[in-house]
Symmetry: C2
Subunit: 342 residues, 2 copies
């Protein structure tokens, strides 16, 4: 799609998905590129982060954030270049991270922006050094509290959050079992990320393999998927286990509650007799207190090569809807980033 420099392409929510989102739930619109007023910058989106939480924002069921309105620009974390500045803290050409959403251009008053300076890997601000990395770090360390020798299990182990959870758990001395979709991802998780083992959730024997991989049970289960993975994990949780609840992507497309029996009382009973702590968190709550220590630690680990992350890059804003649909189906291999501009 040819693009005039005076045109702002943006992708808006066209319809609320019924179950899994389809391409028809998004609409690409064009609008004039806005002009910054005094105190504002004009940002050109370079990278757009795609993350599972976006599915929730497309629905109007209860959630931690108000739903997107129909016709509103899809939200998203971004790395952008300042193309015009009337703000004293930013200059043309600066790279910044922010939340410009699914569009080529946006205005900002600078409040949410973080200057990236000279960085060899600006897209990391959307993954290991940004929201997903902070999500992994906070949930694992402040809720999961892994101790040396304990067993930590995390799914989506090659994804933006799971990959960081597992690598940080290894740095803290835990034994780490990952779960991923397919042999390629599992091989990568063990060989490149250093997990002790990785199980293929598509294997018909997955639940038994997970049990075999955790002979001493599970002390920390970092919940980011739900569904059949949680069902396999539940009987393996140890007394005193911790379950940071970060996401349940397997259910984001559910149209209704799954059929019975009703296992809610069973879950409460397991929490009770195994003295388990299950705690949900939303990373937005923790930026004020927690981002700086996270950023300090993670920057060092990345610089030392102790934490790595594979990126799965989609080219072109117009391909963001398909990439998000693929992410929700587990088709990505690594952190999904859309390259919107060079």
């Amino acid at each position: 799609m040819p693009q005039s420099p005076s045109t702002n392409r943006r992708i808006v929510l066209a319809a609320r998905p019924q179950g899994a989102p389809t391409l028809q739930d998004f609409r690409l619109e064009e609008a004039p590129v806005p002009t910054p007023s005094e105190g504002q910058v004009l940002l050109r989106t370079v990278y757009l982060s795609l993350d599972p939480y976006m599915r929730g924002r497309m629905s109007d069921r209860p959630s931690y954030a108000p739903p997107l309105a129909l016709g509103e620009v899809m939200v998203g974390g971004t790395v952008s270049r300042v193309v015009a500045s009337k703000h004293p803290n930013f200059r043309e050409g600066d790279l910044v991270s922010g939340t410009a959403g699914w569009q080529d251009y946006t205005l900002s008053d600078g409040q949410e922006l973080m200057a990236l300076g000279d960085t060899a890997h600006p897209s990391y601000a959307l993954s290991v050094l940004g929201m997903p990395g902070f999500t992994a770090y906070h949930g694992l360390l402040n809720i999961g509290e892994p101790k040396p020798g304990e067993t930590v299990v995390v799914a989506s182990a090659s994804g933006a959050v799971g990959a960081v959870v597992g690598q940080v758990a290894k740095l803290k001395g835990a034994r780490v079992a990952g779960i991923a979709g397919g042999a390629d991802k599992c091989r990568y998780v063990v060989e490149k990320l250093g997990f002790d083992i990785c199980l293929d959730r598509y294997d018909p024997q997955f639940a038994q393999q997970l049990a075999n991989a955790c002979p001493g049970g599970i002390d920390v289960y970092y919940e980011n998927v739900g569904g059949a993975v949680f069902d396999a994990v539940l009987p393996l949780l140890n007394i005193g286990a911790r379950v940071p609840v970060c996401g349940i992507i397997a259910h984001y497309n559910d149209k209704a509650l799954p059929p019975g029996p009703d296992r809610l009382p069973m879950l409460m009973n397991i929490l009770l007799y195994k003295r388990i702590r299950a705690q949900g968190f939303i990373i937005l709550d923790h930026y004020a207190d927690g981002f700086a220590p996270f950023y300090r630690d993670m920057s060092a680990w990345v610089a030392e090569g102790k934490v790595k992350l594979r990126e799965d890059i989609a080219d072109g804003l117009e391909n963001a809807p398909a990439a998000l649909i693929g992410l929700l189906e587990g088709k990505n291999f690594g952190k999904v980033v859309v390259r919107v501009a060079e």
Copy 2:
């Protein structure tokens, strides 16, 4: 039933209950009164505590303690009098608390015994100053962490645990809504125990009344019942709520999981988007570190009249089975204690 001083009556588990226990699941046996060896005391049971956890010990489904074997004496906390001592720390006539179970006499090496000294109210060692009081105190303060002005909800509000939870929460400055079965209990909970309000769980409008009683939502829900009460609480939980999971008595007699739909994913989703901490605990884990500070605080509150507890006394060991069955049906009014001897 006339009782020879040389006979030890004891009640054993005769059969594993199918659903709610019946009198046929218990059997009263007679055995000789045992004789203490060097280092032992012979104890005469004076009071036997009946508590909901006993239902779990009668089953062989997974729990935190191994199930009772068929034919084994029912377990239970007791206040006993030392009737013969070959132990240097105990003298004939001493009152002690321990776990003699459902029988007239038992031997002890003294390790689990706590001397009660001269106390006006020895049965309190089985309730407000014993395991149920400690359960209330630990779960509320260390997991629930109520803050002044927050709303705390607890069911079985006239029972051994719930009554203490609510009174301690009031002492910590919280607003407290109790839930109890019937108007008499509700009146007692408000007028005698000082809860702000108490809702009758048998009222057909109960869920709506609870919502009306908690216009600012619920910050701490001390879970000791499950079932319809939990269902009414769940939509009212605030962001950041804490749910100490102490028991789910409504489900102890379940023969199978309730019919669907399966609300387990819904519960996980609510934990997530409301950032709720749900944490099970078993009070036996916390005696070593926690009992002394609990006992110090609670003894003072009881002495000052700040924490009260009504007792529901059943007379005679032979009536313990019916009293436990009644407790599990919510027919008791206050802490259930069996007076086994004067």
